[in-house]
């Protein structure tokens, strides 16, 4: 499962970022932040191709020695980034996709909350719980 899950606003600031507590949080921040480069690259490439029926899932953004970083961008340019441990080979593309879909649905619920101010950091407990479910359970 994922080791870090991030939701990034259209303006590229983090709305939500959570990583496995045992590992260096800072490193994930850097990783996710850097991955935005590739996200933007992919968005602009996809935007040229077909603006309408764009695939939201961006696929593997870039691999590092330790992690694989996957990206997903909603139609409102909110980005989701999931970081997965490299050694975790059981996760296939399809699983990652479904994780993103779950994330997207949950985020949509957050946005539907009339008390949520779009652009504010996400603090929903439901969302938190869903993310926790997707993260690696470190014993």
């Amino acid at each position: 499962m994922a080791v870090c899950i991030a939701v990034i606003a259209k303006e590229n600031y983090p709305l939500y970022i959570r990583s496995v507590p045992t590992q260096n949080e800072l490193k994930f921040h850097y990783t996710v932040h850097t991955s935005l480069d590739v996200v933007e690259e992919k968005i602009s490439a996809a935007g040229k191709a077909m603006a309408d029926q764009r695939e939201l899932y961006l696929g593997l953004l870039y691999p590092t020695e330790d992690y694989k970083v996957y990206g997903y961008v909603t139609n409102s340019k909110v980005k989701f980034v999931i970081v997965v441990d490299s050694s975790n080979t059981s996760l296939r593309d399809n699983e990652i996709r479904s994780m993103f879909r779950k994330l997207h649905n949950s985020f949509t619920d957050v946005m539907c909350n009339p008390f949520y101010n779009p652009g504010d950091p996400v603090q929903s407990k439901v969302f938190e719980g869903m993310v926790s479910g997707m993260m690696v359970q470190v014993s």
Binding site: A9, E11, N12, Y13, P14, E25, L26, H29, Y30, H33, T34, L36, D37, V38, E40, E41, Y62, P63, T64, E65, S86, S87, T89, G119, D120, P121
Partner: protein
């Protein structure tokens, strides 16, 4: 040398040799479709072959799986055309050949019979038809496979027949070759699959299988089917990976053990050779390490991909491989070495096969490798002590030696290349300087590339790691640039954790650089950073405090830092909430400061600098300007988000403040254009990358803060700010309107400054001049009666002391009425009342005021009386301005003004008086009408009229003696008869006097009222008597019949002296006469004047001179009709130049004159206007009017002409008695 499928050639070698060249050339010329088994797509391939001489040894032994050396086709060449020869030797040879083939189970053969015309010609006569040999061969060898024997005719001749034969031969050859491929490869693949299925069995060896499948790959490569070859390797890769994964999951296979051997060599990938035979051999021997196997696999894949023109896939796969290279090598750093070398090797390989332009365009594919290599080199450098300031220790050196040993010797193929990865690594590890050079080179290359492809964040991350390197090297000045750049990017995008981390680095950097101010500012930011632990925050806070408490000399400049990092101004509250007080009162400003420091900080001085704005000073102020919240006097400041969840500056652009503008043309105010302007464009349009809002807690570098020096300040000394919210109270002082500008907290040597307080906040301390207002207690003030006037003194800043007096200068027209019981009340919270003492002297009334504090209102009432000016009528509401001079006493310590002021008061006279002269023949009466114009009712008493000059005159009152009530807006008429003894003067100076008091007042309160007037031309000069005589023979007048109007004008008196001089006289016949003009006019259309209506009379100036005139008139109606009016004027001949001013008393007559004009209905507008202009009126013909030297008419004064028949009536009967009455009965 390239591999080609092997084709053996038996039979006539000489023949084959002669045909070899064209054969080898022409075989690959045409492509052939290769249909594949297992549903694989058919492919067009160009066939090539390696023709070798047939040898028995070439045939594969049973069980030999080698494919590369496998002969796919066997050809037997013969040019035998002679049956004898065939039977003698060739057949035998052929049989042997075929037998040996059959013995090895090879069925892929073909017999080529070459026919030459030469041979044909030679044996034309004595041999069998040539076909017979072929037939024979077919019969003998190719039972049922007739296609296995091919005839090639004249192969060396250039004829169409030969060409045809060649092409059919080649086609056959290709077909057979492909058939052979299909069959043999199919069989091989089947075998291979079978072998693979056995992989679960013990004793199965991956290496063996590897060799088998690679054989297949080789064949595909041989056939130029790189795609298929790559598939083989990918399959192998996947299989191996799966094994490794399973191994990791505990499913160990024995053969994997061989890969677990410790790695002794980490020399990196070798991509320069198509096949690394060394590694292949070691794999074949089962001695390869995991790394070797991976390396070998990748090098093969790389080779094939480059053949396929897909170099970018190489880089991608390389990264994947390098990342996934799972085994941490025993020697620390070995893996790093391997990765580093491999990265560079891949890059070299790619560079080798692409031109620079292509490389530049695709650096997005290579940059990952560059960055990775950089990273690894840095790791190595750190490991080997090449990054530290001091250089490597002996331990580090040992480690380096170990690492270098693992690299082995340089490969022969790169030994001559100057920049081989091997050489680079060796050099880099050899010395600190070389390492730095190589590392920087790589870093910059990676950064450049990242920037090129717009991956700025990645570039900055590389920059950050470069900064770390510099920091370790002890070169903070070079590190700072990179750190600042990275920080800027994190701040602008609101990534708080990286911001914190980077800022920590910057702090360290700045500390080393000795940039005290910047360092302290960064410390302040960090001390308030919620991402750090309390311990860290306290440390940073301590840094600031210890600097602040350093007892440096006082002259040293204080360090100025931005307050935003230190504390936030959250709220500001004014007490009182209007933010406006008079000077001397207390205005408190309470600031709520949220201190972000982790510990309590003692502030020596907290000051708010204020800006004095003059324009408001001293006025009655209301605080204005700042957009007020619902609670006035309290301003809440927009909070930057707490740094934990900072929204970046780019996301918090200010909202647009729009205003409508209208452009109107200056001439006619019509609308030219209208539009909307944005008032805060400077904020909205600000570039975000450079102009980051300095107010956010996440600002990159502290903005330089300018401190307002010498400005006025509100100060509080010695405050301790606890972490969290604090309230600080300021007290404001001097008069003026102030705008809060800056907030400055001083801690020892450190000042925290909030450079701007926004929104603008103003407060006002006003100072007011003393002000005296006098206003009537009741409106309007009536003259002649004592009236109460209210004096209101706003003391303003002036404190009224004991002994201060208000001095009013008295005027005759308006005396002040002193009254003892005068009370002054001081309007203040403590509603005090104190008495006034008023001293009146002849000139001045002095009112000593009770002591009153500033900003209080002193109020008292005084009675004043305005004497009604006697004499001629004035406009009733004339303003009487009476000077009152509030003058200070001579004593100088209590003046508020040295000037005296006029206080205007308006009094209204309550009565309007009119007089008129009434005559009855010679008797004269004077009527006085007193009209009450005020709202109050009055009692009038003691009405009297007196004449000033003529003592002989007696005025006999015809009025009641009693008091008379005059209600509001009502009038009282009084009448006096004038009696005279000797002679009536033509001019009378009369004084009307009365006393009046408001209704209900006691008799003592009666006040006099005087009215003076003058009457002129009192004497009656003429009497006019008229009589209407019915027509002759009639008793009564009848309507419609002419009657006679007899007018008799009689002079009553002798002319007086003045009259003689004044009136135009004409001496005719020695008699003095006056010219009069009479006129008969009927204003009510009762009479028709027939014939002459006016006439001129020359009256002798003597008493009882009479003139009679007869005028024909006709009554138009029946009934009692008033007499027509008879008017008499003085007739002045044109010589008289005196202009006649309209007399007010003649107004009535003027009116009737103009009425008459209308009745005449003169069509000429200009004459009408001429006539109506004034009293000048000429009657009769137009010549008279138009002639310039016009005689004028002047009316007599009232009382000069007495009309006896005024208002007299005459009975007029209807014209006939025959009245026709129409009665309609229905």
């Amino acid at each position: 040398m390239e591999n080609k499928p092997i084709v053996t050639c038996g039979g006539d070698q000489a023949l084959f040799t002669s045909l070899y060249t064209p054969l080898a050339q022409q075989l690959p010329r045409e492509p052939m479709e290769w249909r594949r088994t297992y549903g694989r797509a058919p492919k067009m391939i160009h066939l090539e072959a390696n023709f070798v001489q047939f040898k028995e040894e070439l045939l594969p032994k049973e069980g030999n799986k080698a494919l590369l050396t496998f002969p796919f086709l066997h050809i037997y060449w013969t040019d035998c055309c002679d049956t004898e020869a065939y039977k003698g030797s060739v057949k035998e040879d052929m049989t042997r050949w075929q037998n040996s083939l059959r013995g090895h189970g090879s069925v892929d053969w073909v017999i080529v019979v070459v026919e030459t015309n030469d041979a044909k010609k030679k044996n034309k006569t004595n041999i069998l038809p040539r076909s017979s040999i072929v037939d024979k061969i077919r019969n003998d060898f190719c039972n049922k496979q007739s296609d296995r024997c091919v005839v090639l005719s004249d192969p060396l001749k250039d004829s169409s027949r030969s060409q045809e034969s060649w092409s059919s031969f080649l086609l056959k050859l290709r077909t057979l070759l492909l058939m052979s491929f299909t069959k043999n490869l199919g069989r091989f693949e089947d075998d291979m699959r079978t072998l693979r299925e056995k992989r679960t069995q013990p004793g199965w060896s991956f290496c063996e299988y590897f060799m088998v499948q690679e054989e297949l790959a080789f064949v595909f490569e041989m056939l130029q089917q790189f795609e298929d070859a790559l598939v083989q390797y990918d399959e192998l890769d996947a299989l191996f990976t799966q094994y490794v994964l399973n191994f990791g999951a505990g499913d160990g296979a024995n053969w994997l053990g061989s890969f677990c051997a410790p790695v002794q060599n980490w020399s990196g990938l070798m991509l320069r050779r198509p096949i690394d035979m060394e590694k292949r051999d070691s794999i074949q021997r089962g001695e390869a390490s995991l790394l070797d196997l991976r390396s070998y696999l990748f090098s093969r894949q790389c080779t094939l991909l480059i053949f396929l023109q897909r170099p970018w896939e190489v880089t991608q796969r390389a990264l994947e491989l390098l990342h996934n290279c799972p085994q941490p090598l025993s020697v620390p750093g070995a893996l790093d070495c391997w990765v580093f070398l491999s990265c560079l090797e891949v890059l070299h390989r790619i560079e080798g096969c692409c031109d620079p332009a292509q490389l530049a365009a695709n650096c997005s594919h290579t940059v990952g490798l560059w960055a990775y290599a950089t990273d690894k080199l840095k790791c190595l450098g750190e490991l080997c002590g090449l990054v530290s300031e001091k250089g490597p220790t002996s331990e580090d050196l040992n480690r380096t030696v170990d690492l270098l040993a693992g690299l082995g010797d340089e490969r022969p193929e790169t030994i001559n290349s100057l920049l081989s990865p091997y050489k680079k690594l060796k050099e880099a590890l050899s010395s600190v300087v070389a390492f730095e050079r190589h590392y920087l080179e790589l870093s910059h290359a990676a950064m450049e590339m990242y920037k090129e492809i717009n991956r700025l964040r990645s570039a900055r991350l590389v920059g950050k790691s470069l900064a770390e390197f510099y920091m370790r090297k002890g070169e903070p000045e070079r590190a700072e640039v990179f750190l600042q750049e990275a920080l800027k990017s994190y701040v602008s995008e609101g990534w708080s954790l990286p911001v914190t981390h980077t800022r920590k680095n910057i702090a360290a950097c700045q500390k080393l650089l000795g940039r005290t101010e910047d360092y302290l500012q960064t410390c302040a930011l960090l001390a308030g950073d919620a991402n750090l632990t309390d311990e860290e925050r306290k440390n940073f806070c301590q840094e600031i405090l210890s600097f602040a408490s350093k007892s440096t000399d006082k002259s040293a400049q204080k360090v100025t830092l931005s307050m935003t990092a230190f504390a936030q101004l959250t709220r500001l509250e004014f007490r009182p909430s209007t933010a406006s007080v008079h000077s001397g009162a207390v205005l408190q400003v309470e600031l709520s400061l949220r201190c972000l420091m982790p510990v309590a900080v003692r502030i020596q001085q907290l000051s708010a600098s204020i800006h004095f704005s003059l324009e408001q000073a001293g006025t009655h102020g209301r605080s204005k300007g700042p957009p007020r919240q619902t609670n006035p006097g309290t301003v809440h400041f927009a909070q930057p988000h707490s740094s934990g969840n900072a929204v970046p500056a780019s996301a918090t652009t200010p909202s647009l403040e729009l205003d409508e503008i209208q452009d109107r043309s200056p001439s006619d105010n019509s609308l030219n254009s209208t539009g909307i302007v944005c008032k805060n464009t400077h904020l909205v349009m600000r570039r975000h990358d450079s102009g980051l809002s300095p107010d956010t807690a996440n600002s990159v570098s502290p903005p330089s803060v300018a401190v307002d020096d010498g400005a006025q300040m509100l100060k509080v000394q010695d405050v301790t700010l606890e972490p969290g919210n604090n309230a600080v109270v300021f007290t404001a002082g001097d008069p003026g309107t102030y705008t809060l500008r800056q907030l400055c907290a001083t801690v020892g040597q450190v000042q925290f400054v909030l450079p701007h307080i926004y929104p603008l906040i103003q407060y006002e301390v006003y100072s007011q001049e003393p002000q005296l207002t006098v206003e009537p207690l009741s409106e309007p003030l009536l003259a002649g009666l004592p009236q109460s006037v209210r004096f209101t003194l706003l003391t303003g800043h002036y404190a009224v002391k004991k002994g201060d007096a208000l001095q009013l200068s008295n005027s005759d027209a308006m005396p002040l009425l002193p009254s003892a019981a005068c009370k002054a009340s001081i309007l203040s919270p403590t509603n005090g009342e104190s008495s006034l003492s008023i001293q009146s002297s002849e000139k001045v009334t002095s009112i000593s005021l009770p002591p009153t504090p500033p900003y209080h209102t002193l109020e008292f009432h005084l009675e004043v009386l305005c004497v009604i000016p006697p004499g001629p009528d004035r406009p009733p509401n004339e303003r009487l301005t009476n000077g009152e001079c509030p003058r200070t006493s001579t004593n100088h310590n209590c003046p508020w003004s040295i000037y005296s002021t006029l206080l205007p008061l308006t009094f209204y006279i309550p009565f309007k008086t009119k007089h008129s002269l009434l005559s009855a023949g010679n008797r004269k009466y004077i009527q006085v009408c007193v009209q009450n114009v005020s709202d109050a009712s009055f009692q009038l008493a003691e009405l009297s009229l007196s004449e000033k000059q003529e003592a002989s005159l007696e005025l006999q009152s015809l009025n009641t003696k009693a008091q008379q009530l005059v209600c509001s807006k009502q009038s009282v008429f009084c009448l006096w008869e004038v009696r005279w003894k000797t002679d009536l003067p033509s001019c009378l100076q009369c004084v009307f006097s009365a006393s009046f008091s408001p209704l209900g007042q006691p008799a003592s309160s009666f006040k006099p009222f005087l009215y003076q007037f003058q009457l002129e031309r009192v004497t009656t000069l003429y009497s006019v008597r008229a009589e209407i005589l019915p027509a002759t023979g009639e008793q009564q007048c009848r309507s419609g019949t002419l009657c006679g109007l007899e007018v008799c004008i009689t002079r009553l008196t002798e002319p007086a002296e003045g009259e003689l001089a004044e009136e135009g006289k004409t001496d005719s016949d020695g008699l003095r006469t006056t010219k009069l003009m009479y006129e008969v006019a009927d204003s009510s259309s009762n009479w028709a004047v027939c014939g002459k209506s006016s006439g001129m009379v020359s009256m002798p100036v003597a008493a009882n001179a009479t003139h009679r005139a007869h005028i024909e008139v006709m009554p138009l109606f029946a009934g009692h009709l008033p007499f027509p009016k008879i008017k008499v004027f003085k007739y002045l001949p044109h010589t008289a130049t005196q202009a006649i001013q309209p007399d007010p008393d003649s107004c009535v007559e003027n009116d009737t004159l103009s009425l008459l004009d209308k009745n005449l209905d003169d069509p000429q507008g200009d004459t009408a206007s001429l006539r109506s202009r004034g009293s000048v009126h000429s009657l009769g013909s137009g010549e008279q009017q138009r002639g310039l030297p016009m005689p004028r008419l002047e009316p007599f004064g009232p009382g000069q002409v007495f009309n006896h028949s005024h208002a007299q009536q005459v009975l007029v009967l209807p014209a006939t008695d025959d009245h026709i009455m129409e009665v309609n009965a229905t």
